[in-house]
Amino acid sequence: MSKITSLADLKKKREELQSGFGIRVKAIDPENVVQVKVAMATCGIASGAKAIMEFFMEQLERRNVAAFVTQTGCMGYCYAEPTIEVKLPGQDPVVFGFVDLKRADQIIEKYIKTGELVDGIIPVNYQTIDLKE
């Protein structure tokens, strides 16, 4: 990891990261692949998020879907764990709750492959802040 030695350095790094968000994928263009985020806080893991994450990593590769799977923290929907967020290229992200292996399979086959929604969507009901000065 390169050292950040000045505020200008940090700003430059932020611009680089924002333009590509190239942190998650090294080789592929992130805007053109499917992004799957799995909520992996203690509660998510306790309800089986780890197995779901492994399933997505393994199956997306096996089924030849250009995607990357990453972990994130608590999304706040404890009642619906495990929860995942799927972002198809060029679309708004969609959150799915109660994701077991069966639903994970449906999400890959239906939503990710054909854009067809599946049951268990959790509507976004909050707004978040943007730190831009």
């Binding site: 203690t42 959790i122 009901n125 909050y126 802040i129 730190l131």
Partner: protein, 597 residues
């Protein structure tokens, strides 16, 4: 891509479900089939929109139209008007209560703006184990701004002006705390993050540390610069292994990137952070006890003054803030004190994270502006009470807080309003109780927790709470009298006045507030020897209703202690002196012949 050009999302949350959202789905599908649209429009059942008050909800995608209060018979209109003719069904649109105008796009609806994520801005969005994602979300910019463009005094002024009050529970002004720590001269000072979250039902701090650890590290460095310290310590309980793991990763990544360590941003400012582990004692959330625990001493509080800002960790000036307090600091610095102060109520600024637990549909982590009402939190964001039961009370502030009843639902949540209502904000745990919860047992439950967690140093807490707990136990067993209720109250007030630290001073709060708000229930326990909620085993009796009993013997066979007698096809009888009140017979009976008296 998808063969579907349109999606109809129907809310399948518990309360919409109760108002026939199933039938809406069926009717929509039938209607689409009849019109030959099954292949281009898909109907999907979703989780709770959190707009239960106006449910059932149907959302049409991709144009984001939300229909409220939809009935099964409206399916035809929605399909014919909206889907076929492309005209919105005005009568089903949400009407803004103030402007009286119909709102169709969910993004314009005030309701969906009830939650505002400031502290949780990155939680569930970034990968907490990758510093790059934090940097891409403007991470460490606030630290950069502070170190290069602001004096420590200016930072403190800004934090003071924001009006932020400590989120650990006491609600002391963060800026003032920093100012006091700055004023005390010393060669070494400490910045301590209190991550000893211990209330039953609380998981706000854990979620922040697991989801966005860098925001806390950045804020601690900002605090260090402001008070003149280069040493940060995070006191975290060992029961939070994942939070610890993620903090370790975050600290290492920040060090490798030069964002912690020596000469940060080339400004000559040094700051590093170390972890200190607690063994999970509730009292160690009290700042003086926390400091003793970090020093390797017993986790016992000491009398203030001296305040930690004067003589804290190893006798040096120490500033202790809670996780959530820290996590908001970068946002305050970047967006300004004015912005933060524009959110919330007159004396409580900004947003507050709450952990919703108990008998509520959407158990979860939420963040709302101060001033949001309990009703909004429970019935809109929280989706209402589970299984359609009746709301009874809400315990805010954990075992140190109080239980608020129906009449408090419309008070705007902030530090002062909750105190005025007889509870406290506390760290943000909210436990929702329904009609099946007994308020005497509940007070006993919280007292049990305090008794176990009392450090034993002062008599009021060590002995007083034990006696309170015993009295509550007797009342639950039907051995209490009206006099005992007076004793409960008096003893509670004495403990409150005389205990040494916050733990003891607040421990009788559940008893006092529950007696205040549910006095009749306490009276019923001591005079009628009845538990209205049907929770106290000693006060109830399982009885067989001879009119319903057919003598099937199912109850007698399931009874683990053979308390039920009776011949085949004859009315059965439960012997109360043998019955252990396990309820197995009642569950087994198919004829509703067994009831609780």
């Amino acid at each position: 891509m998808s063969k579907y050009s349109m999606h109809l999302l129907v809310c399948g949350g518990t309360s919409c479900h109760a108002s026939e959202s199933d039938a809406i789905v069926c009717n929509l599908r039938d209607e689409l089939e009849a019109k030959g649209l099954m292949d281009s429009v898909q109907v999907i059942m979703t989780g709770c929109f959190g707009f239960c008050e106006k449910g059932p909800i149907v959302k049409v995608m991709p144009d984001n139209t939300i229909y409220v209060g939809v009935k099964p018979e409206d399916a035809q209109t929605i399909v014919e008007e909206h889907i076929i003719k492309g005209k919105k069904v005005t009568r089903l649109l949400y009407k803004d209560p103030i402007t009286k105008e119909s709102v169709s796009d969910s993004k314009d609806m005030g309701f969906f703006k009830k939650q505002l994520r400031v502290v949780l801005r990155n939680c569930g969005f970034i990968n907490p184990e990758n510093i790059d994602e934090y940097i891409a979300r403007d991470g460490y910019q606030a630290l950069g701004k502070v170190l290069t463009a602001m004096t420590p005094e200016e930072v403190i002024k800004e934090v003071k002006a924001s009006g932020q009050r400590g989120r650990g529970g006491a609600g002391f002004s963060t800026g003032l705390k920093w100012e006091l720590a700055r004023k005390n001269q010393s060669d070494v000072k400490y910045v301590v993050c209190n991550a000893d979250e211990g209330d039953p039902g609380a998981f706000m701090d854990r979620s922040v540390l697991e989801g966005d650890p860098h925001s806390v590290l950045e804020a601690m460095a900002i605090c260090g610069y402001s008070i003149g310290s280069s040493n940060g310590l995070i006191y975290i309980r060992a029961e939070y292994p994942l939070a610890i793991e993620r903090l370790k990763i975050a600290i290492n990544q920040a060090r490798e990137s030069g964002l912690l360590g020596n000469n940060i941003f080339g400004t000559g400012f040094n700051f590093d952070i170390k972890l200190r582990y607690g063994a999970g004692a509730f009292v160690c959330g009290e700042e003086t006890a926390l400091i003793h625990s970090m020093e390797g001493l017993r986790g016992e509080p000491t009398v203030k003054p001296p305040f930690p800002a004067e003589a804290g960790y190893e006798g040096k000036p120490t500033n202790v803030n809670n996780v959530e307090t820290f996590a908001a600091i970068p946002a305050i610095i970047l967006k300004g004190a004015k912005w933060f102060a524009s959110i919330g109520t007159e004396k409580s600024k900004g947003t507050k994270v709450f952990a919703l637990a108990g008998k509520i549909n959407n158990v979860g982590l939420i963040e709302v502006p101060m001033g949001t009402t309990l009703r909004e939190v429970i019935f809109e964001i929280g989706g209402g009470i589970r299984n359609g039961k009746k709301f009874k009370g809400i315990q805010t502030g954990g075992p140190s807080g109080g239980c608020l009843s129906e009449k408090h639902l419309d008070i705007p949540i902030d530090f002062d309003n909750l105190i005025a209502a007889g509870s406290i904000m506390g760290s943000g745990a909210m436990i929702i109780l329904d009609e099946d919860d007994c308020m005497v047992s509940m007070a006993k439950f919280f007292l049990q927790f305090t008794v176990e967690e009392s450090c034993g140093k002062c008599a009021p807490c060590r002995i007083g709470n034990k006696r309170l707990h015993e009295l509550l136990g007797q009342i639950c067993e039907g051995k209490g009298s009206l006099k005992d209720l007076d004793r409960l109250k008096n003893m509670s007030l004495v403990i409150k006045d005389t205990a040494l630290c916050g733990l003891g001073q607040t421990s009788p709060n559940p008893v006092l507030s529950m007696m205040e708000n549910y006095y009749d229930e306490y009276v019923a326990h001591v005079t009628d020897k009845k538990c209205p909620a049907g929770q106290c085993k000693s006060l109830m009796e399982y009885v067989i209703n001879p009119e319903n009993c057919v003598g099937c013997t199912a109850c007698a066979r399931v009874c683990p202690v053979n308390a039920i007698s009776g011949q085949r096809k004859e009315i059965h009888h439960i012997n109360p002196s043998i019955c252990i009140k396990c309820g197995a017979c009642m569950e087994k009976c198919k004829f509703d012949a067994i009831f609780i008296r």
